[in-house]
C-alpha cells in the first residue's frame, strides 16, 4: 500500500522581507505517497535538522483544511493542483516519481514574506477590522428566533462565510487583489438582516481599507474562484459591487 517516489523540491528560501530570496533545490528520496504535502515538508525539515541546517519556514496549523494558515504556490498554482483543497489536504500520491516540484510563497505587495514560505497576511485582518462585523455588544441580543431568515438566504450567507482567510485568492489573482476575500465577508453580512444597518458603511470602509493595504484591482479574471479551497464564488464580488454602488450613491455614508 505504501508506495514511495523520489522528487526534486525547488523550494523558495528567503531570510526575511529584506532578502532577495532564491530557489533551493533539494532532492527528496523515498517519499511515501500517503504523506500529505506538509508531512513531506516535515520530513525534509527533520532531515535538515539532523544535518544542522535551518528548517524551511512554512505556516500551518490545523492540517484539516479549515484554519486557513497554510498555503503556497505549488508548481505555479495556489494550494497546488487539486480543486477546492488547501495545501495541507494535498497528498503526495498526486505526484509522480521523478517530478520536480516548485514551491513559492504567496506574493503580493500587501503580503510581505516573513521567511521562506511564510508571509504576513495581517492586511486581511485589517480589512475585517474596517467593518467585517456587526456591532452587537455581548448581552443585548434579542432572541435568536426573533428574526426569521429565509433558508436560501442563510445558505447563501453560509456559502460566503465559509471563507478561511488563507489568502489564496490574492496569491492567484494576476493583480494581487483581495476582492474575493473582502466580498465574502461583505456578502455574508449584507445578505443577513442583522447586517443591513451597517451595510453601507461596511462596504465603503472595507473597500477603502482594501485599497490602502496595497491590494490590486479586480479585473474579473476568476483565478481567485478557481483556486479557492472553499469554492467562494465571484457572485460575491458582484454583490460587493452592488453594495458599494448603493452605499456611495444611495446612502448618507460618505
Amino acid at each position: 500500500m505504501s508506495d514511495t517516489i523520489n522528487i526534486t523540491l525547488k523550494v523558495w528560501r528567503q531570510k526575511g522581507p529584506g532578502d532577495k530570496g532564491h530557489f533551493e533545490t533539494i532532492p527528496v528520496k523515498d517519499v511515501v505517497t500517503h504523506m500529505s504535502f506538509l508531512e513531506m515538508l516535515d520530513t525534509v525539515n527533520e532531515q535538515l535538522a539532523l544535518e544542522g541546517k535551518d528548517a524551511i519556514a512554512f505556516d500551518n496549523d490545523c492540517r484539516e483544511g479549515i484554519c486557513g494558515m497554510c498555503g503556497c504556490l505549488v508548481n505555479g498554482i495556489a494550494h497546488g493542483p487539486m480543486k477546492a483543497m488547501t495545501l495541507c489536504q494535498l497528498h503526495m500520491r498526486k505526484f509522480s516519481n521523478g517530478d520536480t516540484i516548485a514551491v513559492e510563497p504567496w506574493r503580493a505587495r500587501a503580503f510581505k514574506v516573513v521567511k521562506d514560505l511564510a508571509v504576513d497576511r495581517s492586511a486581511l485582518d485589517k480589512i475585517i477590522q474596517a467593518g467585517g462585523y456587526i456591532s452587537a455588544n455581548t448581552g443585548g441580543a434579542p432572541d435568536a428566533n426573533g428574526l426569521p431568515i429565509p433558508m436560501e438566504i442563510a445558505e447563501k450567507a453560509m456559502d460566503a462565510a465559509a471563507c478561511i482567510g488563507c489568502g489564496a485568492c490574492v496569491a492567484a489573482c494576476p493583480n494581487a487583489s483581495a476582492m474575493l476575500f473582502t466580498s465574502a465577508k461583505v456578502s455574508q453580512l449584507a445578505l443577513l438582516p442583522q447586517g443591513r444597518p451597517e451595510a453601507a458603511k461596511r462596504a465603503i470602509n472595507m473597500m477603502r481599507t482594501h485599497d490602502a493595504c496595497g491590494f490590486g484591482n479586480c479585473s474579473n479574471e476568476r483565478e481567485c474562484e478557481a483556486v479557492c479551497p472553499k469554492e467562494i464564488k465571484i457572485t460575491n464580488i458582484a454583490r460587493l459591487n452592488r453594495e458599494y454602488i448603493k452605499a456611495s450613491i444611495g446612502s448618507d455614508v460618505m
Partner: protein, 639 residues
C-alpha cells in the same frame, strides 16, 4: 492548601442569579484604568477579549498564529448545545445541566455546570446577532439536531463548520474592538512565562515567533485561554500549535493542574498510516449510525476486507453490546477498538485500525441515501486514505481529541494565583470526566462572553488602588525574562542527535499505549518510568538547529516538548492515583463483573488538583471534594 470553590450558597437554580446580584462592580469610569491580558484567541479568548473591551477595560490579546481567526476552535464540526427547547421536545436548562453532569460521570461541580446550561441560550442569541449563518428551516427559524446520543434536539449548527462560524463571529467582535483601540492584538506570540508581583498575576513574557525577541507585558489580570493538551499524545486531532506550555508555566508558578488524566478519545478518526504522520483527522461520529464496526476473526489477517467472508468477520461491538451495538458511547467504542487491535485483530498498515463498513447501509438504503448523509466525509476519507468507502470498508481508530482536565479554577474561573484566570478548554471546570458532544463550543463561549465579564469584577474591584501600578519596568519582568532566555540557551546548546519531534513522537506512543483509553497500575508505573527516561534523553540528546532570533520551528517545538515531558508525568500520576474507571477511561482494576467501567464514588468523588513541586519532583495532590445536592449519582450501563 485549602481549595475554595466559591460556589455561591443557595438553591442551584438561583446561584448564578444571586452571584450576579451580589458581586462587586467596577465603576464604568474606572474600567479604563485596568489593563487585562488575554492569552489565546479561540472561542474563550476572542469572546472574553471582545466582551471585556466592550465594557471599557483595556485588553491586550495574544495569539500564537498569524491571525486571531485561526485558533483551533475553528475545527469543531458538529455543533453547539443550547437549552433553547425550540423543537418543543422537552429540553430545559435543568435537562442540559443533568445530561452534562451525568455525561461527565459526576466529576464536575453542580454549580458550574448549571451556570453553563443557564447561559447556553444566550450564546445562540449572541451568535445570531453577530451574523453567524446557523442552519435554518424553510420557515426561516433555526434548525436543531440531536447530537452524540442526546434524547433531545438541542444542537445548533452551521453545516459541518459550526466551530469555524462561532469563532469567526467572536473574531469579528474582537476585530471591532481592535479597530476601536480597546484591544491591542499581538499575533505570532507565544506565552513563555507568567510574571507574579506580590503574589498576584501581573503580566506575561511572550516570545515573538518571528524575531525571537522576548517581550514583557504588564497588566492587572491575566486570562489564560490557551486550549487543551491533547497533543501530549503526539498524534491527536489537535492543531500543530496547540500546546500545554502556557498552562504548564502557570502551574510551575503555583496554579494547580486539575484532573489531567481526564482526556477524551474520539472513536472515529482516520488511522495513522506511518511514522511520518503529523496529526489525525476526525470524522463525525454520526458515521456510526449506519456503519458496522468489525475486524477479521483471524489474527494478523492480511486479506483485503472484501475478500474476507462474512463468517470470518468479528462484529465485536454488536456482539458485546447487543442493545446499543455500534452506537455505544465514545469511550466504550474507543476502548474496544484498542482491545481488538492489541489482541492482534487490527487492520491497516500499522495494525491499529478497525473497519467501519457501510456495505449493508448501501444495500439497504441505496448509495444515494448514504452519499447524501455522509458524502463529504467519504470524500475526505477518499482524499486522505485513497480508498473508496463506497466500495471497501473505511478504517477508523480512536484519537485524542479533547482535554477535560486543566488548570484548577474556582466558580469565578480564578486559579489559585490571584489575578490569573483560566477559561475554556484550558480550565478543568465543566465537563467532569467526559465531555458531551457539542459542549466544547458552548463552554468556551460561555466562559468568554457571559461568565468572565461578571466574575473578574470582584477581583479587579479588590485591587482598585493598584490598577496600573505595575509596569514593564518592574524588576520581576527582567528577572523572568532572564529565566526564559536561560531556558532557550540551554535548549539550543545541548547539541545532541535527537530532534524535538522524534522525542515527542516517542512520548506520544507511551501515552497512547499506557495512559490512553484503558489503564492499569503496572502500565501506568511503566509509563511514568519511561517518561522520566525520555525527559532525561531530551535534556541530554536534543538537537535544535537554526537561530534563536528567527522564525524557527525547531525552537518552538523544543520548549513545547520540554513542557509536555513534565506535564505527561503528572497526567500519568493522576491516572495512577485515580484507581477507578471514570468518564472516558477504563481502569482495568475497576470493572464490574460484566467487564464494564466501575466508578468508585466513595473513594474518588473529588477533583484532583496537583501542585508543582519542582523539576523531577512528584507533584502534591490536593483534593476538592465534589458535593452533589441536586442529582443522584448513577452508574452507566450499555448492555
Amino acid at each position: 492548601m485549602q481549595l475554595e470553590s466559591k460556589i455561591p450558597a443557595g438553591p442551584l437554580t438561583q446561584k448564578w442569579t444571586k452571584y450576579r446580584g451580589d458581586q462587586k462592580l467596577v465603576n464604568p469610569a474606572n474600567k479604563r484604568k485596568y489593563t487585562l491580558i488575554c492569552v489565546g484567541t479561540g472561542l474563550a479568548g476572542s469572546a472574553a477579549s471582545a466582551s471585556l473591551a466592550e465594557l471599557g477595560y483595556n485588553v491586550k490579546t495574544f495569539c500564537i498564529q498569524d491571525s486571531p481567526r485561526r485558533a483551533h476552535s475553528i475545527a469543531a464540526q458538529g455543533g453547539i448545545n443550547a437549552a433553547k427547547n425550540y423543537p418543543n421536545d422537552g429540553d430545559s436548562i435543568w435537562r442540559l445541566f443533568y445530561d452534562t453532569i451525568k455525561g461527565g460521570d459526576f466529576r464536575a461541580r453542580e454549580g458550574n455546570v448549571y451556570r453553563l446550561a443557564e447561559v447556553s441560550a444566550d450564546i445562540i442569541d449572541q451568535g445570531v446577532a453577530q451574523g453567524i449563518p446557523f442552519a435554518r428551516d424553510y420557515g426561516g427559524l433555526l434548525a436543531n439536531r440531536s447530537f452524540g446520543g442526546a434524547q433531545v434536539s438541542r444542537t445548533f449548527y452551521a453545516r459541518g463548520q459550526t466551530g469555524q462560524q462561532l469563532l469567526l463571529g467572536a473574531y469579528s467582535s474582537l476585530s471591532r474592538q481592535i479597530a476601536t483601540g480597546k484591544v491591542k492584538m499581538y499575533p505570532r506570540r507565544e506565552m513563555m512565562d507568567l510574571v507574579i508581583v506580590n503574589g498576584k498575576a501581573r503580566g506575561i513574557i511572550v516570545r515573538n515567533l518571528i524575531t525571537g525577541e522576548y517581550e514583557s507585558h504588564a497588566g492587572d489580570a491575566v486570562l489564560l485561554c490557551t486550549g487543551g493538551y491533547g497533543n501530549v499524545f503526539y498524534l491527536s486531532t489537535n492543531a500543530e500549535s496547540c500546546n500545554v506550555g502556557a498552562a504548564v508555566k502557570c502551574w510551575r508558578k503555583g496554579a494547580l493542574m486539575a484532573n489531567p488524566c481526564f482526556t477524551q478519545i474520539h472513536p472515529t478518526c482516520i488511522p495513522n498510516s506511518g511514522d511520518f504522520q503529523a496529526k489525525l483527522t476526525l470524522m463525525s461520529e454520526s458515521l456510526r449510525n449506519d456503519g458496522r464496526v468489525w475486524v477479521p476473526k483471524k489474527k494478523g489477517d492480511t486479506r483485503r476486507p472484501n475478500d474476507i467472508p462474512e463468517s470470518e468477520r468479528w462484529y465485536y461491538l454488536e456482539e458485546k453490546y447487543p442493545s446499543f451495538g455500534n452506537l455505544v458511547p465514545r469511550d466504550v467504542a474507543s476502548r474496544n477498538a484498542k482491545y481488538v487491535c492489541d489482541a492482534g485483530h487490527g487492520v491497516g498498515p500499522t495494525g491499529y485500525a478497525v473497519y467501519l463498513d457501510f456495505s449493508q447501509a448501501i444495500q439497504r438504503d441505496g448509495k444515494d441515501v448514504v452519499q447524501r448523509k455522509y458524502g463529504n466525509l467519504f470524500d475526505m476519507y477518499l482524499n486522505i486514505v485513497d480508498d473508496n468507502p463506497y466500495e471497501t470498508p473505511m478504517m477508523i481508530y480512536p484519537a485524542s481529541h479533547y482535554a477535560m482536565g486543566g488548570l484548577w479554577v474556582d466558580y469565578e474561573l480564578q486559579t489559585t494565583i490571584p489575578g490569573l484566570f483560566a477559561l475554556g478548554e484550558c480550565n478543568f471546570s465543566d465537563h467532569g470526566a467526559n465531555r458531551l458532544g457539542a459542549s466544547a463550543l458552548m463552554q468556551g463561549l460561555a466562559d468568554g462572553y457571559f461568565v468572565i465579564p461578571y466574575t473578574i469584577a470582584p477581583y479587579l474591584a479588590s485591587i482598585y488602588g493598584e490598577a496600573g501600578s505595575v509596569t514593564e519596568d518592574h524588576p520581576a519582568f527582567k528577572e523572568t525574562t532572564k529565566q526564559v532566555d536561560a531556558l532557550f540557551k540551554k535548549l539550543t546548546s545541548i547539541n545532541g542527535t535527537r530532534t524535538p519531534d522524534s522525542i515527542h513522537r516517542e512520548l506520544g506512543k507511551v501515552m497512547v499505549d499506557e495512559v490512553g483509553m484503558s489503564r492499569n497500575e503496572a502500565g501506568l508505573k511503566k509509563a511514568i518510568d519511561k517518561i522520566r527516561e525520555l525527559r532525561e534523553e531530551f535534556w541530554k540528546n536534543l538537537r535544535v538547529p537554526g537561530s534563536l532570533n528567527d522564525y524557527n520551528k525547531n525552537v518552538e517545538k523544543a520548549h513545547r516538548v520540554a513542557d509536555y515531558l513534565e506535564f505527561a508525568e503528572t497526567l500519568a500520576i493522576d491516572a495512577l492515583e485515580r484507581a477507578e474507571s471514570c468518564g472516558c477511561h477504563l481502569r482495568e482494576e475497576s470493572q464490574s463483573e460484566e467487564g464494564e467501567a466501575l466508578r468508585k464514588d466513595d473513594k474518588y468523588c473529588y477533583v484532583a488538583a496537583w501542585e508543582y513541586k519542582g523539576f523531577n519532583q512528584k507533584p502534591e495532590l490536593h483534593k476538592e471534594p465534589l458535593v452533589f445536592e441536586n442529582v443522584q449519582l448513577t452508574q452507566r450501563s450499555y448492555k
